[in-house]
């Protein structure tokens, strides 16, 4: 089994708010991230796929295909967007780094044919990242 990781970057804004909570509770739990006007990050995405090496091509996966799927499913949807208002998943879920990693997994997983998705890693900043392995 060989693991291959492809990186991408996107920039987006978001804020954290749960409409089921009071404004005071939202502010207490989410602090500065609760500012309804939003704030932004440069996100770094790492997508790791795994598989056996194809004896004909020497590849685990066709990188061009992986890059295209990441572009279409993630970057076109999230780059330079206000995640709360422009990405459907986040009308009902808070766009935390955890939920962004899960949403990216759910977008990529059905589209990857040749290789198995192993891990989605999303860096919100260089000092904070979330890994999602598809665990229930």
């Amino acid at each position: 089994m060989v693991y291959l990781t492809r990186k991408a970057e996107f920039s987006a804004s978001h804020y954290y708010n749960n409409p089921q909570l009071t404004p005071e509770e939202n502010h207490r739990i989410f602090g500065k991230c609760n500012n309804p006007n939003g704030h932004g990050h440069n996100y770094t995405l790492e997508v790791t796929v795994k598989g056996e090496i194809n004896p004909q091509s020497g590849f685990v996966v066709d990188l061009k295909q992986l890059k295209e799927v990441m572009q279409k499913e993630v970057l076109d949807a999230m780059d330079h967007r206000f995640l709360n208002k422009e990405v459907p998943e986040f009308t009902s879920r808070i766009p935390t780094t955890e939920n962004i990693a899960i949403a990216i997994w759910q977008r990529l997983q059905p589209r990857l044919k040749a290789a198995t998705l192993h891990r989605v890693r999303v860096y919100e900043t260089p000092d904070l990242f979330v890994d999602f392995y598809g665990e229930a």
Partner: protein, 142 residues
Amino acid sequence: MKAHLTRRYLFSASHRLHSKALSDEENRATYGKCNNPFGHGHNYHLEVTVSGPVDAQTGMVCNLVDLDNLVAREILDRFDHQNLNMLKEFTVSVPTTENLCRQIYDILQRRFRHAHLDRVRLEETLMNSFEYDGEGTHSLIL
């Protein structure tokens, strides 16, 4: 759904690698430059990884404020800008980055209640890093 969250921190400290169980010659042979009696220092980059189900209400594995506060109080306040050899944590064990990594894991494991502690990773320099995930039964708790 279960996610794994990693947070990075920075602290600076000095140490000298010297074992009381070894002779001076053996210490020099084992630890080389790190055995310099006056010590030397590093900028340590610490990575703490915790995991758990993503809370449906908050979208979080745990509140970062809780993790940051605990690491600041229990790790950074304890080790930042200190000579590690002078601390009670290293009266017995040598302050190698392996041992420091285990100390940090043990401290956080005892205190952090908001998510499961997966792993502590400590970079001593850009070239050296160490990881501990609680494997083994030996405890350094003094």
